[in-house]
Symmetry: C2
Subunit: 186 residues, 2 copies
DNA sequence: TGTACATCAGTGAACGCGCGTTCACTGATGTAC
DNA sequence: TGTACATCAGTGAACGCGCGTTCACTGATGTAC
């Protein structure tokens, strides 16, 4: 039956939150409409009252994932020094916990490979998320604006690559890659 | 009808080659048995004379992809100096051509995200491929064995991360990431 | 403020589709004599 | 070397399944008076 506007808004948010986690855990293809809806406490039939297509959900969920993940770092940046925030971010990013829990981790490391084969609309959402992370990282770097952007890009590429490789490898190889990247001289 | 052992071996190789390219272009899920078989000039029904499951094909194709991609670099390493080979490898890896042609590119950048959600068997194959690339890269680095491995791991993580991010982003963001990573001081 | 009615969020069954896999069949290949 | 027969690589139709999407329906919500 019909529910109030407030409850519908709550449902919408729960759908996006569930999708945001499930798309990182299972991938864009692996996170089905039915699973997302039941995770949000609803049935799959009502999905199309909230989104025109599954692609529209993926875009909203990806944006939410970047917002949540990037938000943690941005908040740390306001509360601590840039170098402390960056060190903490790097340590958490390259931790075994992050590798084991993609659902609450970096969306870039979780779904980049599939987004690469998705429509331009989703790439635009992904690119916006990446730029948001790059902007936050650049605040931790030194030098000219361009030098700071470039350092941020290399830093993000290394982090994303390390976690992506670690997750796809056997445990021994994964451990070695993470250790090596944590050991980087800065 | 039945074909000779030689022709069957040729078929087998063509199936693996087609799968090796298609799995990088379309992903593990996107490369269907039917498409792989027709790309190899066969019909899908005969697939199970060559592989027990699709997973077995993916493993063989992933191993072949790593062998081919790593082989190019290993050959360059034997023909040129380590620093020249590494510089060439980095330039080609971070090129727009590599980003646009995943089918003949680095398998790690193409399918890591999906392998992360695959059975351990495939992760072992992936890890072996990564270790092969790391061994080649380590030959280009200086210092102790561990220092060389660590540098190789960071190098590979940066390359894989940069191309993965570039492919998943809008063109402008992609270009900036590649440019920044190419500009790295070494 | 009450009342009558239109709206529409959510339900659950159904759809078409493509996937991995199976199977009966074909006929050239490989083998036993 | 020939011959008779078993083998089996490859074909194409069929299967069960899960997916994204659609739809008739329900009944509480929102609105017009």
């Amino acid at each position: 039956m019909r529910v109030s506007r407030e409850e519908m808004a709550r449902s919408h948010q729960k759908i996006v939150e569930s999708a945001s986690r499930l798309l990182r855990e299972r991938g864009l293809d692996g996170a089905g409409v039915s699973e997302v809806m039941s995770d949000a406490g609803l049935t799959h039939g009502g999905f199309y009252r909230h989104f025109e297509t599954k692609d529209a959900l993926l875009s909203a969920a990806l944006e939410a994932a970047f917002g949540e993940f990037s938000g943690h770092f941005e908040k740390a940046l306001e509360e601590r020094s840039a170098s402390t925030a960056l060190a903490g971010f790097r340590a958490r990013y390259l931790s075994a916990g992050h590798v084991a829990s993609p659902g609450v981790g970096c969306p870039a490391a979780a779904v980049a490979g599939e987004v690469a084969r998705s429509p331009d609309g989703l790439k635009a959402t992904f690119g916006a998320g990446v730029n948001r992370m790059l902007a936050a990282l650049a605040r931790c770097m030194g030098g000219s604006e361009q030098a700071r952007f470039d350092q941020a890009a290399r830093e993000l590429a290394t982090l994303v690559g390390a976690v992506t490789l670690a997750r796809a490898s056997d445990k021994e190889t994964a451990g070695e890659i993470l250790r090596a990247c944590r050991a980087a001289r800065r």
